[in-house]
Point group: C2
Chain length 129, copies 2
């Protein structure tokens, strides 16, 4: 059983010049939740977040998992990117460290990457002798 | 004993239009290491990183700690920002969740914030009954 992968979705993000409700971030959350429901074995947990502090590059998501790098992506289209995001995170989940080879990454992840952060050191396994 | 705080410093960052060596990121690493040596009780661990994927906003750092939000900052001056960064991370280390009130944050953190990511769920404590 691989470690679970958490997909954080900013629900506060607004598309530029778009004052309508629900906000673009909330619409992305809905489309991701629907798309994930069709992939029950994906091992991905979606968590809504009020702000990822990437307000100039809406919509934004982050993906994190114990022992793997964390990635933050922006410039995502709420109407069209859900499947692409889940595909990219599927590749992430298949790696031991979260680093997907550049060529294999979806274009939206290549152009939309905002930042990445190394994994925190893992706690020592119990009864290591 | 509070949880340790890890300060990731991108050593690959170049200041715009600056082809000199060592690179701006490496210079920031040096100035941070020197400044930290004068604060032996700070509880901060500096870890050099080859790339935080924030190449357009050099210099960049990230701060992370178990159970706390992760923050990424850019637009940092390698010559002048070391003490400010350590001050800001000291405030971070004094919080339970890593969220420093906006007004208390250094100006460089307010204007330079690139992204933030929630803490991953913590493992259950042992023998919790």
């Amino acid at each position: 059983m691989p470690d679970p992968v958490t997909l954080y979705v900013c629900t506060t993000c607004r598309a530029e010049g778009d004052a309508s409700e629900p906000r673009a971030g909330a619409r992305l959350l809905s489309s991701l939740s629907e798309a994930l429901a069709e992939r029950p074995a994906a091992g991905i947990r979606i968590e809504p977040v009020e702000c990822l502090s990437v307000c100039k590059r809406a919509c934004t998501v982050a993906v994190a998992s114990p022992g793997r790098w964390t990635y933050v992506y922006g410039d995502l289209d709420p109407a069209t990117s859900a499947a692409t995001i889940l595909d990219g995170i599927g590749l992430y989940a298949d790696t031991p460290d979260g680093i997907v080879p550049w060529k294999a990454r979806p274009q939206a992840f290549k152009s939309g990457v905002v930042a990445r952060v190394p994994p925190l050191p893992q706690p020592m396994p119990e009864a290591a002798e």
